[in-house]
Symmetry: C2
């Protein structure tokens, strides 16, 4: 499972979540050219999976208020990838309580998707189990992504993992939704997920957020301790502080199947222009919510308003310190 | 030396290098108000040392081409800090081959400085030894900062450390000048420096650059493995990709003597406005030189020219890959 510095782990697989997580900052409104450029870059870079968006409920989310990648309808997918005649596998995420998964996730034989990633909070385990079974029965590879793991107590975590370990999900992902974890916590969770998943042969993945500029470091840490799946995004695009930057991750990995130049190219041609109209990255408000182990929503709100440059005031608001 | 997660290491000392390392991006041209604001923030935040600049040779560097913090004349220092009636200690850096240290570093009794940090490359050890002895003889606390440690072979490193260990320097700093190190390398070097410094009671420090967004992570790693001194700068200000951001480091440390709010305040009031006129941070070119373990000077040049947004071309240039 581990490997010395100079060699590499042949089974380590990378998932690009640029469009899925990045869609959270622009209502999933990427145009086709952008999505195709990321897809082409993933193929050229030897990336294993590309997560193209959500399977979100059209009853909860109006079709005309969000871009296509909130829903990942088959027609939209195929407009970009055709039948996807490449080694790159395609994934979509379904959130517990926010997806009409029974109907909206088609049988695998009718879809160009390869994997469904089921995202859920600790209190949503019963629905998550049903979602995982449903997707597996339909023929998909399935990943179980317990969100906000940094807020789950040890006892509750054990109970969640015991239940999820019995499902047909083949991957359990350590998700640092708030970007609050330090290396020690990542190590402990990766080892715990591996332990619970061992009996049913599950792999462990890592999905890190960059609030404290630790997304890449924590991803390395997870890999060192046995994670075989790692999420990253082009230029770190993602909600709030963003994710582990793909250009950093591929620079670290030694597997010659990965190529970094296509990543720099898409970063230059697509992400850099995008950064002039929307923002992501470890701005002070995201640092603060990360340090406080909180959801970034208050930071996102602060950065979109007039007080965006008033860091100390934001800190006071969240900590209740008097000035 | 180590401490459990929830407590803290009382001996761990932080050095703010905002003005010294940051001066490398504006020819040390900070105005007095800026320097005073950083000084006040350091005092209010409980930071242990502030590095105010260089003791650079006026024969090599024209006095009218650089700001005061390239030279740290006593009058300039005292204009900001008076007699420095605070617990904050003041440091200046002297580079081997670039400093008239014999004459320009005054006896400690005539200076408001407390520490001299001697910076040198592996091939400059003989002069570094003389500089360290001179500064110690003059009454200063002295730190030995071997630069570009990531390019020094193991054999050469042992020889350097054996010699430096015999000097009166009380601190040996692991310096990742190129921002190329991963956690394993930091661990190995910290342990090695500690081993060589043990007999003469030297402490070990860490000075990290942020090319791969690992400056904070590597600083934590160094602390975990026994470093008792850590460098950081407000908003990570520093040459090229910058340094470990102070707001991240203080957020991690548990010692109640440190206060984070003054850091956010100076970041908001001084660093944010500065970022509109000069740039620093982990831009793609710095990532690339970091990944290639190279000096950032080519990246700095690329970012100041017309090709600043052409990442793939820069990558090709440095790796010789044909497009």
């Amino acid at each position: 499972m581990s490997a010395p510095w100079i060699t590499y782990r042949p089974n380590l697989k990378i998932l690009d979540c640029t469009i899925r997580d990045g869609g959270l900052i622009n209502e999933h409104g990427f145009d086709d050219e952008f999505v195709r450029a990321v897809y082409d870059a993933c193929v050229a870079a030897g990336i294993d999976y590309m997560e193209v968006g959500y399977k979100a409920s059209k009853k909860l989310f109006a079709r005309d208020k969000f871009g296509a990648w909130k829903f990942c309808d088959e027609d939209d997918l195929r407009r970009i990838v055709g039948d996807n005649p490449t080694p790159l596998k395609l994934a979509a995420m379904a959130d517990a309580a926010k997806s009409d998964w029974r109907t909206d996730i088609l049988p695998k034989r009718d879809s160009v998707l390869d994997m469904i990633r089921v995202a859920f909070y600790a209190n949503q385990v019963p629905e998550a189990v049903d979602m995982i079974r449903d997707a597996a029965d339909k023929g998909y590879e399935v990943s179980a992504n317990l969100m906000a793991a940094s807020t789950v107590t040890d006892t509750e975590m054990d109970q969640v993992l015991e239940v999820i370990a019995q499902t047909p999900a083949s991957t359990l992902v350590v998700v640092d939704s708030y970007g609050s974890m330090y290396a020690e916590q990542v190590e402990r969770l990766v080892k715990k997920y591996l332990e619970f998943g061992k009996a049913t042969g599950k792999e462990v993945g890592i999905h890190a957020h960059n609030n404290q500029q630790l997304a890449f470091a924590n991803t390395i840490e997870a890999i060192i301790h046995g994670a075989e799946r790692a999420d990253a995004s082009m230029a770190g695009l993602g909600r709030g502080a963003g994710n582990c930057p793909m250009e950093l991750l591929i620079g670290f990995l030694r597997n010659p199947k990965f190529r970094i130049r296509p990543v720099y190219q898409v970063v230059e041609e697509r992400l850099l222009p995008l950064s002039r109209t929307v923002e992501w990255g470890p701005y002070a408000q995201y640092v603060i919510t990360g340090q406080l182990n909180q959801h970034p929503r208050v930071a996102i709100a602060a950065r979109s308003g007039e007080a965006r440059d008033r860091y100390a005031e934001f800190y006071d608001k969240l900590t209740g310190e008097e000035v």
